[in-house]
C-alpha cells in the first residue's frame, strides 16, 4: 500500500526520543502533535493527566475505559508512547503513566498562554497600508503555487496538459528547489541536461501523490523537506517546529519576521515557494520583514481526513477552480464537481486543465464543453491507472472528495431513509466502488507488509497471550494457531509485553 502520509508520519515516529523532547519544547509543536496525531481516546488520556500532580496508575486508567474498547485503549497508549508523550513510571510500587515533562509543560503553556516562548507568532504591527493582502488574494496565491507544482508533475506525464496552463494568470512554474525536492522524493524523474532544459517524468509515487487530498500532499512534501533538511544544513527538529509554528498562525494576518532566527528565515523562503506562506517583495527584490500564512499553512494541523472540514473544502474548491477567467463566475458556489453514475459515466463540471489531466489518468474522456467534461470509466482505463501505480482507494477517495453536492445530497437522503444508522451510505454508487476494487484485484493479488514473524513458542499459552495482545494494539497482520506463529508489523509493543510477561512469570 503506497500510503505516503502514513509513511511520512511514521517517519516522524522514527525520530529518537531526545529529538522529540526538543520538539516539544515549543508549545506550538506540542499542540500540533496533540491535535493532529492522537486519537480521541489518546487526547482524553492526555488531558486527564495534564494537570494531575501525580502519575496515574495503569490500573486506574483502565477503569476509565469500557471493556469493549480495550483495543482502542491499548492502541492509544501505544501511540502516546510512540510519540514520547507518555512514559512509564513506577508510583507507589505500581506501574503508572505520566506525561513527559517537556510535552506537559508545553501543552500547559499552550492552553494558558503562560511563559515567554512566543511560539504562536508575533503579529506585525507596521504593515504599510498599500501592502495589505486580503484572504482572497492569499488563496489565489496559494492556489497558483500549488497548482503550479501539481501541474508541473502531471504536465510532464504521458497525458499532455493543454496550453492553457502556460497562459498568464495561470499556475506558476515551481522553483528549482521544489523540483529538486520532488526529484529527491522520487515523485518525478528528470532526464536531459541542464543546458538543454530538463524534461520531467512522473513516477508511480508521483501519480499516487497527485491524487491525494491537498493536506496529505502538503505534508508529504513537507516531510520530504524535513528529511532533506540536513542536506541544506538545517536541523530537522528546528525545521519541524517551524512548520508547526507556521501551522498555528491565523489566516489573513501579517506576522513579523523579526523574532525568527536564521534557520527559520531560510525555511520561510522555502515555504514561500510551496505557496504555504506569502511574503511580499520590496521594489529591490528583497523580501519585506513580515509574511502572511496562506490557507495551506493554517490548515496544516486540521484533521482533514474527517470527510470535509469546512476549511478544507474552501481551499479544495479554490484549488479545483480553474484559473482561466471563464470559470471564475461559475465556480463561486461549487465545492465538488464530479458526478458519477452507476453506469460508470462521469461528468465533471470543471475547466481546470489540472483536474482534467488528473481525471484522464483513470477515465476515458469523451467530450469537452466549456465547463464540463464527460467520460466513462472502463476496465482498461482503471487498469491503466493501476498499472501506473495508482491504487483503487486513491481513485475512490479522489472521486469522493470531489463529488458534486448533488451526489452528497443524494447519499444523505439515502442515509436518512435508512433504518440502520450504523450503515453509512457511500457517496459514490456502491457498484462503482466494488467494481474499481475488483478491477484492482485482478492485477494485485499480493500485498507486502514489512514486519516481524514470531514463532517457536514453547506452549500454547505463551503463544496465545502475545498474539492476543498484538491483535489488541492493532499490529497483528497474520497468525496461525496450529503452527504457533504470528506476524506483526510493529515489534516494540509486543516485545515489551513479552518481556514483562516473562518477568512476571519469573518473579
Amino acid at each position: 500500500m503506497a500510503d505516503t502520509t502514513l509513511q511520512s508520519w511514521e517517519y516522524l515516529e522514527t525520530l529518537p526520543g531526545t529529538q522529540f523532547y526538543r520538539l516539544y519544547r515549543s508549545p506550538a509543536s506540542a499542540l500540533a502533535i496533540f491535535r493532529k496525531r492522537l486519537t480521541s481516546l489518546a487526547k482524553t488520556f492526555v488531558m486527564m493527566l495534564l494537570y494531575m500532580p501525580a502519575p496515574l496508575p495503569v490500573k486506574q486508567l483502565e477503569l476509565f475505559v469500557k471493556d469493549a474498547s480495550r483495543g482502542e485503549r491499548e492502541y492509544a497508549i501505544d501511540l502516546l508512547h510512540r510519540y514520547h508523550i507518555f512514559k512509564d513510571v513506577s508510583y507507589n510500587g505500581a506501574k503508572a503513566h505520566a506525561l513527559t515533562p517537556d510535552f506537559a509543560r508545553s501543552l500547559r503553556r499552550a492552553l494558558t498562554g503562560a511563559g515567554d516562548s512566543r511560539s504562536f507568532g508575533q503579529v506585525a504591527t507596521h504593515v504599510p497600508h498599500g501592502q495589505k493582502v486580503t484572504i482572497a488574494q492569499l488563496d489565489e496565491y496559494a492556489r497558483q503555487r500549488w497548482e503550479g507544482i501539481l501541474g508541473y508533475m502531471v504536465g510532464s506525464s504521458a497525458v499532455p496538459l493543454e496550453s492553457t496552463t502556460t497562459e498568464h494568470q495561470a499556475a506558476m512554474q515551481p522553483s528549482p528547489g521544489v523540483i529538486e525536492l520532488l526529484k529527491a522524493g522520487h515523485l518525478i524523474e528528470l532526464s536531459g541536461t541542464h543546458s538543454r532544459g530538463q524534461t520531467a517524468k512522473i513516477t508511480k509515487e508521483g501519480f499516487a501523490f497527485v491524487l491525494q487530498d491537498i493536506n496529505t500532499q502538503i505534508w508529504a512534501l513537507l516531510f520530504l523537506y524535513v528529511d532533506n533538511a540536513e542536506v541544506f544544513e538545517m536541523d530537522k527538529v528546528d525545521v519541524l517546529s517551524f512548520l508547526f509554528f507556521v501551522s498555528s498562525l491565523e489566516l489573513g494576518l501579517a506576522y513579523s519576521t523579526a523574532p525568527l532566527d536564521e534557520t527559520q528565515q531560510r525555511c520561510l523562503s522555502d515555504l514561500v515557494s510551496f505557496g504555504i506562506v506569502y511574503q511580499p517583495l520590496r521594489d529591490d527584490g528583497t523580501p519585506v520583514d513580515f509574511f502572511y500564512p496562506t490557507r495551506l499553512a493554517t490548515t496544516l494541523t486540521s484533521d482533514s481526513s474527517t470527510t470535509l472540514s469546512a476549511t478544507n473544502t474552501t481551499i479544495g474548491s479554490s484549488l479545483s477552480k480553474s484559473s482561466s477567467s471563464s470559470s471564475q463566475s461559475s465556480s463561486g458556489t461549487a465545492k465538488g464537481f464530479i458526478i458519477v453514475e452507476t453506469n460508470y459515466r462521469l461528468y465533471a463540471y470543471t475547466s481546470s486543465p489540472l483536474q482534467i489531466a488528473l481525471l484522464s489518468l483513470f477515465v476515458n474522456l469523451r467530450s469537452r464543453h466549456p465547463n464540463l467534461v464527460t467520460g466513462k470509466m472502463s476496465k482498461s482505463s482503471v487498469q491503466r491507472a493501476i498499472q501506473a501505480g495508482i491504487t483503487a482507494d486513491q481513485i475512490i477517495s479522489y472521486l469522493t472528495s470531489h463529488a458534486h453536492p448533488q451526489m452528497r445530497r443524494h447519499a444523505q437522503a439515502e442515509q436518512a431513509r435508512n433504518s440502520d444508522p450504523n450503515l453509512v451510505v457511500p457517496i459514490l454508487p456502491a457498484t462503482i466502488l466494488d467494481q474499481i476494487h475488483l478491477w484492482q484485484l485482478e492485477r494485485d493479488r499480493m500485498t507486502t507488509t514489512p514486519g516481524f514473524l514470531l514463532k517457536d513458542f514453547p506452549n500454547h499459552a505463551d503463544y496465545e497471550a502475545p498474539c492476543r495482545y498484538a491483535d489488541e494494539i492493532g499490529v497483528l497482520v497474520w497468525k496461525n494457531d496450529k503452527k504457533r506463529m504470528f506476524f506483526v508489523n510493529r515489534i516494540e509493543g509486543v516485545r515489551s509485553f513479552m518481556a514483562e510477561r516473562r518477568a512476571n512469570a519469573q518473579g
Binding site: P27, L31, R35, R37, S40, L41, K43, T44, M47, M48, Y51, M52, P53, A54, V65, K66, E72, R73, Y75, L79, R105, L107, R108, A110, L111, T112, G113, A114, D116, R118, S119, F120, G121, V123, P259, T299, D303, T306, T307, L308, S309, A310, T311, T333, A334, P405, R408, R409, Q412, Q415, A416, P421, N422, V424, D471, G474, L476, V477, W478, K479
Partner: protein
C-alpha cells in the same frame, strides 16, 4: 491473509473525529459566588474554565464553543458576542420585574430582552455602582494583561475566545446592581438552556449545510420542526445517544456549571423540563457540574423536605411566590439538574472542593496552573481540583464517551417533580388524566389548572382494597368475547 485486519481498523479510527460544539452555561449568580469566594474565587474559576475551553478547542481544529451566563436576573451571551450588541449593558433593575415571565417563554423572550437592552446602550449611569461585585470583577488572568496580546505566547483562537468572554463578563458584572442581586437570588437556568438549544440548532444546520453545500439540509430538516431540526438522522430514535451517526452531524453538548444549590428552580420547572426533553430528543447530553456552597448550610444533597427557611431566604422576601418554595428549595436545583443529566445521558458531578482526596492535593505542577489567585493553598487546591474535574470527566466528546469511556454517572437520581400549582417538589401528587399536569393538592373544584378539564376524584382518600378475584375473571371473559 486478510483474516486479521486490525491495523486497518485502527488507522481509520484515529481520524474519526467529527467536530463537536461545547456550550457552557455558567451560573454567575453573584450571591452564590460570594459564598464560595473563600474556597474557589470566581476569578480562578473563570480562569480554569477558560483553560477547559482551550483544551476543548485544542482537541480538534473544527471544535466550537459557546458560553452563556446564567445570571441572577437574565441569561446572556458571553461568547460569541451577539452581533448587534457590544457590551451587554442593561440596567437590570429597571427591566427585571419578574423573572418568571421571561424565562417561561423561552428563548424568544430572552432574545427580545437582549435586543431591547441594546437600545438602551450607553444609557447606563450605574457604572460606579458596582461595589457589590468589586470583589469579583478583577480577573487577573495572565491572558488579559496587555503585554501578552501581540507577543504570540498564546494560540490566537484561544486568545480571541478568552478576550471576548472576559470582556462580556466584566460588562455583565459591572452592570449588575446590588438591587438586582438582592431581588432575585435565583439563576436563569431555563433561559440559558433555551439560548443554548437555539444556538446548537443553528450551528447544526450551518454545519450540515457546509457538509452538503447549499440548502439541502434546510429542506430536509425543516420537516422535523424548529426544535427538532439540527439532529437530522440522530433524532429519529429519540432516546439513543446518537453515537452511531457521528460523521454526519455536529456533536453538541451542554455543560452547566451550577453554583446556586439553594436557588428555587422549582418555579422554572416547566421550561427546564421542556429544555431537557428537547435535548433528549436531539441527543444532546447535558453535563452538570455542581459546585457545593461552603459548610454553613451543609453539603448540598440535603434531605428533601426541611420545614425551616434556609439562610438565603432573607433575600427571597420580595419575590411573590416564595411562600412555599423556600421550604424545600435547598435540594431543588440538584433534583432537576440530576434529572437533566440522567435523561440526556449526561454526566452529573457534585464537586467536592477543597479536595479530601490526597491525590489531587499534593501539587507538583502548580507553577503552570492558571490559578491566579495568589492566596492561600486551599484556593489553589480547590481550583486545581476544579480543573481536574473538568479535564478528566467533562472534556471527552459525546462520541468518545459513548464508544469508549465509563462515565462517572450518578445512580441514585432523584426523580421527584415540581407541582404545577405551587411549584412544590413532590414525590406523590395528583396527576391530571388528560394533560398529565402534576398537582400537590386537589385543585379547586377539581378543574385542572392547565387544561381545564373537570376531574372527578372518585373516592379519594379511601384506603386501597385488594380487588376481588371475580372482577378479574369478568374482565377476562369480557375480553374473550
Amino acid at each position: 491473509m486478510n483474516a486479521v485486519d486490525g491495523s486497518d481498523h485502527f488507522g481509520r479510527a484515529s481520524h474519526d473525529q467529527a467536530p463537536s460544539l461545547l456550550t457552557i452555561i455558567l451560573d454567575t449568580n453573584p450571591a452564590a459566588w460570594s459564598l464560595l469566594s473563600s474556597t474557589l474565587p470566581f476569578s480562578s474559576a473563570i480562569a480554569n474554565i477558560l483553560v477547559f475551553i482551550n483544551a476543548h478547542l485544542a482537541g480538534n481544529y473544527t471544535n466550537k464553543v459557546a458560553v452563556i451566563a446564567s445570571h441572577c436576573d437574565r441569561a446572556t451571551w458571553l461568547y460569541p458576542t451577539p452581533t448587534e450588541q457590544k457590551p451587554p449593558p442593561p440596567r437590570s433593575s429597571s427591566s427585571s420585574a419578574d423573572p418568571n415571565n421571561r424565562t417561561a417563554d423561552g428563548a424568544s423572550g430572552v432574545r427580545h430582552d437582549l435586543s431591547e437592552s441594546t437600545k438602551r446602550l450607553k444609557l447606563n449611569p450605574h457604572d460606579a455602582n458596582n461595589d457589590h461585585d468589586s470583589s469579583k470583577t478583577p480577573l487577573n488572568l495572565d491572558s488579559s494583561s496587555p503585554s501578552s496580546l501581540e507577543t504570540g505566547n498564546k494560540y490566537r483562537p484561544f486568545r480571541l475566545v478568552e478576550e471576548e468572554v472576559l470582556q462580556n463578563l466584566t460588562a455583565l458584572l459591572s452592570s449588575t446592581t446590588p438591587d438586582a442581586v438582592s431581588r432575585s437570588p435565583t439563576t436563569m437556568i431555563a433561559g440559558a438552556l433555551t439560548l443554548a438549544l437555539s444556538y446548537i440548532n443553528r450551528e447544526s444546520i450551518a454545519y450540515a449545510e457546509s457538509l452538503i453545500g447549499m440548502t439541502a439540509a434546510v429542506a430536509e430538516t425543516s420537516t422535523t420542526g424548529a426544535t427538532g431540526g439540527g439532529g437530522g438522522g440522530v433524532s429519529s430514535s429519540t432516546t439513543t445517544t446518537g453515537d452511531a451517526s457521528t460523521n454526519s452531524s455536529l456533536q453538541s453538548r451542554i455543560l452547566l456549571v451550577s453554583v446556586s444549590p439553594s436557588t428555587d428552580l422549582a418555579h422554572q420547572y416547566i421550561p427546564i423540563m421542556n429544555a431537557i426533553f428537547a435535548c433528549q430528543r436531539l441527543a444532546i447530553p447535558i453535563d452538570i457540574m455542581q459546585l457545593p456552597l461552603p459548610t454553613q448550610q451543609g453539603q448540598q444533597p440535603q434531605p428533601p423536605k426541611q420545614p425551616t427557611n434556609n439562610n438565603t431566604s432573607t433575600t427571597n422576601t420580595t419575590t411573590s411566590n416564595s411562600q412555599s418554595t423556600s421550604s424545600s428549595s435547598s435540594s431543588n436545583s440538584t433534583v432537576f439538574l440530576q434529572q437533566a443529566a440522567d435523561a440526556t445521558h449526561g454526566i452529573f458531578i457534585a464537586v467536592q472542593l477543597p479536595s479530601p482526596s490526597p491525590s489531587l492535593s499534593g501539587s507538583t505542577s502548580t507553577s503552570d496552573t492558571p490559578s491566579t489567585s495568589p492566596s492561600s493553598t486551599t484556593t489553589t487546591k480547590a481550583s486545581q481540583a476544579f480543573l481536574s474535574y473538568l479535564l478528566a470527566s467533562l472534556l471527552p466528546s459525546p462520541s468518545t464517551r459513548a464508544a469508549h469511556l465509563i462515565l462517572p454517572t450518578r445512580i441514585d437520581v432523584d426523580f421527584r417533580a415540581a407541582c404545577f400549582c405551587h411549584r412544590n417538589v413532590v414525590s406523590i401528587g395528583f396527576v391530571c388524566s388528560i394533560c398529565l399536569s402534576i398537582f400537590c393538592s386537589v385543585p379547586d373544584n377539581g378543574d385542572c389548572l392547565t387544561c381545564g378539564t373537570h376531574l372527578s376524584l372518585g373516592r379519594y382518600g379511601a384506603r386501597p382494597v385488594v380487588v376481588a378475584k371475580k372482577s378479574k375473571k369478568k374482565q377476562h371473559s369480557a375480553a374473550a368475547k
